[in-house]
């Protein structure tokens, strides 16, 4: 991109783009979740707001939440309580900094993009823990602790799967990783890529606290977990936006690491006509659908089942994956 423009202006554009991604993801993703879940269950979902198939539902929801009263419990630690939504929100916004939508369409092409991504995406769990501890509510506390335990348990498999990708690609730059993939899974030796993708996807569902791994916010047990005491605007910033922001972010990360990002699905010349960002967005949409599809399909697990699955299955599998990848890189030759 050889545009000669004022760097400050460029910065402003970047900031605006990044800040608008999350609300957009929340509105579109929220609508998609309503509709996909409804149709998976033989329902129609929202049909009235906006006129056409209820397209303005999430917009109306957002307006409703913005107009609600902002309540802070007496027993809450008010400063931490007020700070928690920001700690949850900001890291999720910052995830989108390094995701390459097209080869040249990336806000910051960091050399350590993957490292940055993994680091920043786990910060928001601290915000969730803050919310749980500061609410002065036992359900919030239980939810916060569950969230922390889940973070520790599922961050490891994600890191292992991502490390496997980095070893094969030989770089931590996300643009570099995508460029090494000629098409979906083309980078990966047989088996390794698929296992890494599975481990990553399962852990991502847990990391997002989405069903069937949504014990931190299990409404039938602990109301809304750490977000029980939040209302109005704070609820949007602590739960609604982060939920959808996380969803889209992890779909985009999975697209980048495993599905070839902005590359065409198969290396066939005519497909190259389609611009890269279209490929990226289409693949991300498919991943979002997969995450939404899982939700109405499976019932929620128990907390101990969740932990057992991480420590007994995913983490050993991830360690084995690292071993296998290392062997492949050394003896067969990586990228």
């Amino acid at each position: 991109m050889d545009l000669v423009i004022n760097p400050w202006l460029l910065l402003l554009v970047k900031v605006i783009v990044i800040l608008s991604v999350l609300p957009l993801a929340a509105l579109v993703g929220g609508y998609a979740e309503h509709k996909v879940m409804a149709h998976l269950q033989h329902r129609l979902g929202p049909m009235y707001p906006g006129g056409w198939h209820g397209w303005a539902t999430t917009l109306a929801d957002a307006v409703k939440f913005l107009l609600k009263e902002d309540l802070v419990p007496d027993a809450a630690d008010k400063r931490v309580f007020g700070l928690a939504p920001a700690v949850i929100m900001v890291p999720i916004v910052m995830i989108y900094l390094v995701i390459p939508v097209d080869r040249n369409l990336v806000v910051e092409n960091l050399d350590i993009g993957l490292f940055y991504l993994l680091a920043i995406s786990s910060v928001s769990s601290i915000g969730v823990l803050m919310a749980g501890l500061s609410s002065g509510n036992k359900y919030s506390l239980i939810g916060g602790l569950r969230s922390a335990a889940q973070l520790i348990a599922y961050e490891l498999p994600i890191v292992l799967a991502a490390a496997s990708v980095a070893m094969l690609a030989g770089t931590l730059s996300l643009v570099g990783i995508v460029d090494k993939q000629h098409w979906m899974f083309a980078l990966w030796p047989p088996g390794i890529g698929l296992v890494a993708f599975l481990i990553f996807t399962l852990s991502a569902v847990a990391e997002m606290s989405r069903p069937p791994f949504d014990m931190p916010v299990a409404e039938s047990e602990i109301i809304a977990g750490p977000f029980t005491e939040y209302s109005g605007m704070r609820y949007i910033f602590s739960h609604m936006f982060p939920e959808m922001g996380h969803l889209v972010a992890f779909a985009a990360i999975a697209t980048t690491l495993f599905l070839g990002g902005y590359q065409p699905v198969v290396p066939w010349a005519p497909l190259a006509v389609v611009p890269g960002f279209v490929w990226f967005l289409a693949k991300t949409a498919v991943m979002v659908f997969v995450f939404l599809w899982v939700r109405p399909t499976f019932p929620r697990l128990r907390e101990d089942q969740l932990q057992a699955f991480a420590w007994k299955v995913l983490i050993p599998a991830g360690l084995g994956l690292i071993l296998a990848t290392g062997a492949w890189v050394v003896y067969v030759g990586g990228a």
Binding site: V36, A38, H39, L40, Q41, H42, R43, L44, M47, W293, V294, P296, T297, F298, L301, R302, Q305, A308, F309, V313
Partner: protein, 496 residues
């Protein structure tokens, strides 16, 4: 995931079961959904839906069975006795119950349907209409006019299962049709009747009327019922009757031809009279003989071609088999004239009829639904909720009753003039704790401002008081509303 707590023996499937689950939900993504967008699209409810209870007033004999069986005591019936002069010289005067009030309080009704089941004379029916919510609980008491209006929305009963026993009405009709279908057998039939007294209960009203009927003469002369239908239809059309009326009268004529009963208000030709008289069986066992002949003054003729017997004019008789069927299939038009015609009702009728037939509904159901649609179009029913401001002012006056119903707890001090207690038994204990105030249901403003305060005045007064006391606006409004409701219902407020 692999740690299912199920006790069922499991084979290690490596997540195949999870994929199967995903496949199941994915397949459902492409199936047609089953949602009916209710306020926009209304489901066609089956005939036995328990929506609202309709009253066929002319069938009611004021036997009070429904009111007594009602578990909620939500049916109010008032009646008085009338003495009818003897029909013949030297006869005995007859007494007869006349219905003054029949009301169902739908705020108490639990839709169990016991009243419909228990009614011995088919005066109560289920209608599938269910959208009759009101802004005020007092308007949920439907008086007999409103209950009769619901009658037009009653659907014909569903088809019988194959192999089911034929209902009595149909059996009698079939037998009558079989008899009158054979012209040679028709004259013999009455003479055979006295020898078979068991045949008399089958047609208690039809048999005596058969003697003097033009229909019998027609049947005797071998008149085809369908020819009668065509002829009457042509006559009525020539007279300029509406399509519906013409069809109804033609149907009634055909039915009379089949059963050999007399048309209302038709003086039989003398020749038929004499020949019929000697052939008539004296139905000794039938108590309905005077009743069957009673409702045949000529005044009853023109309006009611289908149900010549109306409770208002004669002692309510057990309806003859023909009109039993007719009760269901051809409900009388509601007593209220159309409020306002905003849509071409007949066009609605035709449209719905065609639509129903196209969708495979049976002709009876199709016709009934079309009729309901036309009625709604005529009366402007079912056009969505009416805004509260457009509601007529709250009217609480109850039709005057000539007799005090027995089971109403009458307050000792001053019985309200015309206010049957709305809450019969269940709420009386709660009320007993309060000062023994008469509970005027409809406190007219003339009764004075202290007890029977005007509801709106009470609202304004309490609102002003509460605001003066410094209550928040919400609390003040709520208390004022409560006061208005108390004024409407005549109860005392807390503390006072």
């Amino acid at each position: 995931m692999s740690d299912s707590s199920r006790k069922v023996a499991r084979r290690p499937g490596f997540g195949i079961g999870l994929l199967k689950g995903l496949a199941v939900t994915f397949k459902h993504l492409f199936k047609h959904n089953t949602v009916i967008q209710y306020p926009d699209v209304k489901q066609e409810l089956p005939p036995r839906t328990r929506g609202v209870i309709a009253l066929k007033e002319e069938n009611c004999t004021v036997c009070n069975l429904c009111a007594r069986e009602c578990p909620d005591w939500c049916i109010y019936i008032d009646s008085h006795k009338e003495t009818l002069p003897p029909k013949h010289e030297g006869g005995r005067a007859r007494k007869r119950n006349t219905l003054d009030r029949f009301a169902i309080d739908y705020s108490l009704c639990m839709y169990c349907g016991i009243c419909v089941e228990v009614c011995p004379y088919d005066a109560l029916f289920w209608s599938p209409e269910f959208e009759f919510s009101e802004y005020s609980i007092t308007e949920l008491t439907h008086e007999k006019e409103k209950l009769s209006d619901w009658m037009a929305t009653v659907l014909p009963p569903p088809e019988l299962d194959t192999g089911a026993a034929m209902p009595d009405e149909e059996r009698v009709l079939a037998a009558a049709a079989a008899r009158s279908g054979d012209p040679a057998a028709a004259p013999e039939q009455p003479t055979a009747a006295p020898e078979q007294p068991t045949a008399a209960p089958e047609q208690p009203t039809a048999a005596p009327a058969a003697s003097t009927s033009r229909g019998a003469a027609l049947a005797a002369s071998g008149q085809d019922p369908d020819a009668v239908y065509e002829r009457v239809l042509a006559e009525e059309t020539a007279k300029g009757s509406s399509d519906r009326v013409a069809t109804a009268r033609a149907k009634a004529a055909r039915m009379r031809a089949i059963k050999g009963t007399a048309a209302p208000g038709i003086t039989p030709p003398p020749s038929a009279q004499t020949s019929g008289e000697e052939a008539t069986p004296p139905p000794s066992a039938s108590p309905a003989t005077p009743a069957a002949t009673a409702p045949k003054p000529s005044s009853a003729a023109p309006e009611q071609p289908v149900t010549p017997v109306r409770a208002r004019e004669g002692f309510p008789v057990p309806p003859d088999p023909g009109s039993l069927v007719a009760n269901v299939r051809i409900p009388a038009p509601g007593p209220n004239p159309p409020l306002q015609v905003t849509e071409d009702a007949q066009a609605v009728y035709d449209k719905v009829l065609a639509e129903q037939l196209r969708r495979g509904a049976s002709p009876g159901v199709a016709e009934a639904r079309a009729r309901v649609a036309r009625l709604k179009a005529e009366q402007g029913i079912g056009r969505g909720p009416v805004a509260y401001d457009e509601q007529p002012p709250l009217e609480l006056s109850v039709p005057a009753t000539t007799s005090e119903p027995e089971r109403q707890p009458a307050p000792e001090s001053q019985p309200p003039p015309e206010a049957p207690a709305r809450n019969p038994e269940p709420s009386t204990p709660a009320r007993a704790e309060m000062p023994a105030t008469p509970a005027p249901l409809a406190p007219a403003p003339a009764l004075g401002p202290v007890e029977g305060e005007d509801p709106d005045a009470a609202y304004e007064r309490v609102l002003a008081q509460e605001i003066a006391k410094g209550s928040s606006e919400r609390v003040a409004t709520a208390r004022a509303k409560a006061a208005r409701m108390r004024a409407i219902k005549g109860t005392r407020g807390p503390g006072g």
